[in-house]
């Protein structure tokens, strides 16, 4: 179900500005990879190229390859819409559709595939997805209420339920806890540990403790100075990155000497 992701010489542009340069990395299936680095170093931008959301921004374009299971996402006959159905995404700020109920939110992606699903199948899927996101117990009595009435942490888990309802291969998380309190953060981190058995997860975070807690591997992005493109400094097992990184810049960053 989940597959290996490989990027090769990936350069990411906003118009003529090169925001991220020469990223080559390989991500194993069913693992959690954390991307850390100072603000503006391009880790979120990089994340958004993995489901072709980067090109939604006017002027956004990519050079190089991103391959999932050997298939280049940027190949000439690849439909970005199809890519996004395979690669789910959770955003920094929880964004359930305000006009939909909790149940409708969970089913939103499934309905897009134009699949007509029966009422009982839909109910099953809603329950399964909400259980998968550790939210079922809290909302099972108010599935027809608007999703925007939930707390921030619940909304974020609803967004995760919505993303996993379509059974993607990969789950991208762009600072999913930065708008949440510590208890909601803990709930999401527990959830990430559960989801790892089924999905390949890539998470961008500013919180180094979080990266250390949830991830198997950690990649460190940095930019030499403002106006220069961000680069992947190194990527290695999380324990190695946090105990004995190869690069001095990584050591400086994780020990809080800059950034």
């Amino acid at each position: 179900m989940s597959q290996r992701i490989e990027t090769k010489d990936l350069n990411i542009y906003y118009g003529s500005f090169r925001a991220v340069a020469d990223v080559t990395m390989s991500i194993e299936p069913r693992s959690v990879t954390a991307l850390i680095g100072p603000s503006g170093c391009g880790k979120s931008t990089f994340l958004r190229t993995l489901n072709r959301m980067h090109e939604v921004i006017p002027g956004g374009r990519v050079e190089g390859t991103v391959a999932i299971d050997g298939v280049d996402l940027y190949g000439p006959d690849v439909d970005p819409v199809a890519v996004r159905r395979q690669v789910g995404m959770v955003f920094q700020r929880p964004n359930p559709f305000p006009t939909m109920s909790i149940a409708e939110n969970v089913l939103a992606g499934v309905r897009l595939n134009n699949r007509r699903i029966s009422k009982s199948d839909a109910a099953d899927l809603v329950e399964r997805s909400l259980r998968g996101a550790n939210l079922w117990k809290e909302v099972k009595d108010r599935l027809d209420r608007p999703g925007s009435g939930l707390s921030g942490g619940q909304q974020q888990r609803l967004c995760i339920a919505r993303a996993i309802a379509v059974e993607p291969q990969v789950l991208l998380m762009d600072e999913p806890c930065s708008a949440l309190d510590p208890i909601s953060t803990l709930a999401i981190e527990d959830l990430i540990a559960d989801l790892k058995s089924r999905y390949t997860i890539i998470i961008v975070t500013h919180n180094m403790q979080q990266a250390a807690r949830v991830s198997d591997r950690t990649g460190f992005f940095n930019l030499e100075e403002a106006g220069e493109p961000g680069r992947l400094v190194e990527i290695d097992d999380t324990s190695t990155i946090f105990s004995a990184p190869r690069e001095q810049a990584t050591e400086d960053y994780i020990s809080g000497r800059f950034g």
Binding site: V56, V83, R84, M89, F91, F97, P98, M100, A108, L112
Partner: protein, 328 residues
């Protein structure tokens, strides 16, 4: 910073006094404006009621005094068809205008390259700057001759739908001074306001919701259906109601285009069937007797009531799904 610390007492008291005076003045202005609106509204309603009363009280005898009221009819029995004609024309105009306006607004906000979008926006706004007399002339002299063959075709193939039924000979009227022509002119006239409001609403869709839809694998149209349209729903309704209000009250264009009648008729393609309240007032006011004016004011009172009812229904629709509006 240091000076304000060195002389705090004097400065604070001086500031507070002027501040308080302005504050009070502004409160009077705000409250006064609110009261004024209610007073104006009430005085219009009272004026309409007082001036309409003689005609309403006269009963059927009014038909001998006022030429345009058919013999044996009271004011109330002609208000009926006039209200019917007014609402029918406005609704047909709305049914034509809203989908087009939403389409143009979506094109401007989500499809067109920025430069084309701006140019198109200006062009739609320019439509609002054309005087309604010009629309009337255009409707009679340009639009109507073009429409006749189309109407004839509709009567022939769609005549089984009551709206598109022909006259007794099975034809569409020629020249087509019919309700459909008037409604088309009205639709063009209300297009700018509906488009402008919809465009603003669509442009304020939070990018978060749009990205949520796109990241789930929505195509552009699916994204619009999932995020943009639901978010803009109450805005679209408000825009439609603004347009409806304008269509209900529009006078000159209807007066010039429509051949009037006083029937409860759904025939959109046959002349001399319906008339609108506003056009009827404009047509009959100049040579009206005192009782005639009273009868016209009674019809004006009906228009006032309809417009209020439309606004209240619209507010009700907007409020009903408040929880889901995205405002919270």
């Amino acid at each position: 910073m240091t000076t304000s610390v060195s002389a705090p007492a004097a400065l604070a008291s001086a500031k507070r006094r002027t501040g308080r005076g302005l504050d009070r003045g502004f409160r009077y202005l705000a409250v006064g404006s609110g009261v004024l609106i209610v007073a104006v509204l009430a005085s219009v309603a009272v004026f309409l009621l007082i001036r309409a009363w003689p005609a309403l009280r006269a009963g059927e005898s009014i038909s001998s005094e006022v030429g345009w009221i058919p013999a044996g009819s009271s004011v109330l029995s002609v208000i009926g068809p006039l209200v019917f004609g007014t609402v029918l024309a406005a609704i047909v105009a709305l049914v034509i205008a809203v989908p087009v306006a939403v389409g143009i607004a979506l094109f401007i906000s989500h499809y067109a390259p920025r430069r084309i979008a701006n140019a198109l926006g200006y062009m739609v706004d320019l439509l609002a700057a054309i005087p309604s007399v010009v629309y009337g002339l255009w409707g009679v002299m340009v639009l109507a001759p073009m429409l006749h063959p189309i109407f004839q075709w509709m009567v022939k193939w769609l005549g089984w739908i009551p709206l598109f039924a022909g006259d007794s000979a099975g034809n569409a009227s020629n020249p087509p001074r019919v309700l459909m022509t008037a409604a088309l002119v009205l639709a063009v006239m209300i297009l700018p306001i509906i488009t402008a409001v919809c465009r603003e609403v669509f442009l304020t869709t939070p990018p978060l919701h749009e990205e949520a839809a796109l990241a789930l694998g929505a195509t552009r149209w699916e994204m619009i259906r999932m995020a943009v349209l639901p978010y803009g729903r109450s805005g679209i309704i408000s825009a439609a109601m603004l347009g409806l209000g304008r269509a209900l009250g529009e006078t000159m264009a209807v007066l010039m285009v429509l051949s009037p009648g006083l029937a409860y008729s759904f025939k959109l393609l046959v002349a001399s069937q319906q008339q609108t309240i506003a056009a009827n007032i404009a047509a009959k006011f100049n040579d009206a007797t005192e009782m005639g004016v009273s009868a016209l004011i009674a019809t004006g009172l009906a228009l006032f009531v309809i417009t209020m009812a439309v606004n209240m229904v619209a507010r009700g629709i907007v409020a009903r799904r408040k929880d889901f509006s995205g405002a919270n």
